[in-house]
């Protein structure tokens, strides 16, 4: 699974880093970022549920989840 923050959509509600503070962080203005655990867009094994929950709670739908790793589709 892959995860991405769409910075055009993110408005800094912070639901993702409230729900999964080790998988998402905030920048100096409160916009969402990925963290050391997710920096390359790869979701750590066993954390798929947390990522889906964060995405489902984002009011702007700015947490983008790709269920298959992008490489698998090639």
């Amino acid at each position: 699974m892959k995860v991405q923050i769409d910075s055009q959509l993110c408005q800094g509600h912070g639901r993702c880093y409230d729900l999964a503070p080790d998988l998402f962080g905030e920048d100096d203005e409160g916009y969402a970022t990925l963290t050391a655990l997710t920096a390359d867009g790869n979701v750590p094994e066993g954390r798929e549920g947390d990522i889906r929950l964060a995405a489902a709670n984002c009011p702007e739908s700015a947490v983008l989840v790709h269920e298959e790793a992008l490489n698998d589709r090639r």
Binding site: Q11, G12, H13, G14, Y17, D18, E26, D28, E29, G30, L53, A56, N57, C58, P59, E60, S61
Partner: protein
């Protein structure tokens, strides 16, 4: 460096009466909510949820001739579309009233950045965001918690309290006074400022202007004191802040201070009060949150969804068709985020309060570029206020028969909330 002379004269300017578009005050009873709604009506304050549900089923965009003409969408989809559409809708005025401010108030507006339009909005907002990140507002948590305890301590020996005016109200007032660096003894004034700004909508333009002038004079006094005695707070920060290589215009500084003071108080007061009202009426939910503190952050989101206090507003910038109606340039449009949050098309069991709701994409803090800049602060205050109350007063109930009142206008929450303790 030269002396800062931006604040020698008051930045408050009386509007030129010729430039104000005034409307007749229509405050009679509502004949039909679909064609004659008034958010200033006591019925609306009391029964907003039922009114929105009814309108969503049959309109879904209501209209009124009051306030010179205003629209009230009730579906999530329509509220979202308006919030995202800054081409057709301006934030030049965000409180619906009986006069429209002049067109040239855009793109800054009276209280930037909430009253600002792009591209200015982005730059004015950027100045504020760092102070209100989750990490920064967390620094206020310890003092907020202590303050909540001190309010509960004052209940010692009593079995009936007004949770609206003796608890919920004081918390955001104290927090924002601390952040702006205003004297604690001035806080009783803030309640009056807030009422004038948000509930005095049907007063005459002259009366409303006079009360704004009182607020601005107070803020100017604070600015001058901070120029003489700079300190580590938001007022000094705004005085020193720069935009486009220059210090902010004096009306920008004072306007933003007005925004922080007004917007930070009524809203959080309402959210804390509505949550306590729900728990006072629903012993099952109350007991569960007393026993399972870990569930409280999830419950807070559900209270924000179900009892979202804030309805924003826009003016139509260009004629536009939305939700099946033709909105005309300069019409008012209310943005009832609380109605959107109860749309069954968007939420399962939309009319129920489900305190362990896991998926909750609510819009209590707005959508799009005007997302409430204080949302992290509000969440912290709401969580701490409920935490302290539930830990200290696990048993409480609504005092039936005692007067209870919900506010009218765009911010909805209990203004009298009689609670029996124990």
């Amino acid at each position: 460096m030269t002396v800062d002379d931006r604040f020698t004269d008051s930045p408050f300017q009386k509007a030129d009466p010729a430039e104000l578009t005034r409307f007749e005050v229509m405050d009679g009873p509502v004949s039909d909510w679909a064609t004659d709604f008034s958010h200033m009506d006591e019925q609306y304050a009391e029964n907003a949820h039922e009114i929105w549900d009814d309108l969503r089923g049959r309109c879904p965009v209501a209209h009124t001739e009051r306030f010179g003409g205003a629209w009230l969408p009730t579906r999530y989809e329509d509220v979202q579309a308006i919030a995202y559409d800054t081409e057709h809708f301006t934030s030049r005025a965000i409180i619906v009233g009986n006069y429209r401010p002049p067109l040239d108030l855009a793109p800054v507006g009276g209280v930037p950045p909430i009253s600002s339009d792009p591209p200015f909005h982005h730059d004015a907002r950027k100045l504020l965001l760092p102070a209100f990140t989750k990490a920064n507002v967390a620094k206020q948590e310890i003092t907020t918690r202590e303050f909540c305890h001190s309010l509960i301590n004052a209940f010692e020996g009593r079995d009936l309290v007004d949770a609206a005016t003796e608890y919920a109200m004081h918390i955001p007032i104290r927090v924002i006074a601390d952040m702006l660096g205003f004297p604690t003894e001035d806080t009783p004034k803030f309640k009056v400022f807030v009422e004038n700004a948000l509930e005095g909508v049907n007063r005459s333009p002259e009366e409303r202007e006079a009360s704004t002038e009182v607020l601005f004079s107070y803020l100017l006094e604070q600015v001058r004191d901070h120029i003489d005695n700079p300190r580590d707070d938001l007022t000094t920060y705004l005085i020193n802040a720069e935009l486009y290589g220059q210090k902010l215009a004096p009306n920008h500084v004072v306007g933003t201070m007005a925004l922080l003071l007004i917007a930070g108080i009524d809203t959080t007061w309402s959210a804390i009060g509505a949550s306590l009202w729900h728990l006072a009426k629903n012993p099952e939910d109350r007991k569960r949150l007393v026993e399972e503190p870990a569930l409280r952050t999830t419950a807070v989101e559900e209270f924000l969804r179900a009892y979202a206090p804030v309805t924003m507003a826009r003016l139509v910038k260009e004629d536009v068709e939305l939700g099946g109606v033709e909105m005309k340039k300069e019409d008012w449009v209310l943005l009832p985020f609380p109605a959107a949050n109860r749309d069954p098309e968007k939420f399962e069991r939309a009319d129920e309060v489900v305190i362990d709701r896991e998926v909750n994409r609510h819009a209590a803090f707005g959508l799009g570029i005007h997302r409430c800049a204080g949302s992290h602060l509000a969440r912290m205050e709401l969580r701490v206020a409920l935490d302290v109350w539930l830990d200290r007063i696990p048993e409480f109930s609504l005092a039936e028969g005692a007067p209870m009142r919900w506010s009218t206008g765009q911010i909805r929450g209990p203004r009298m909330l009689p609670i029996n303790l124990g």
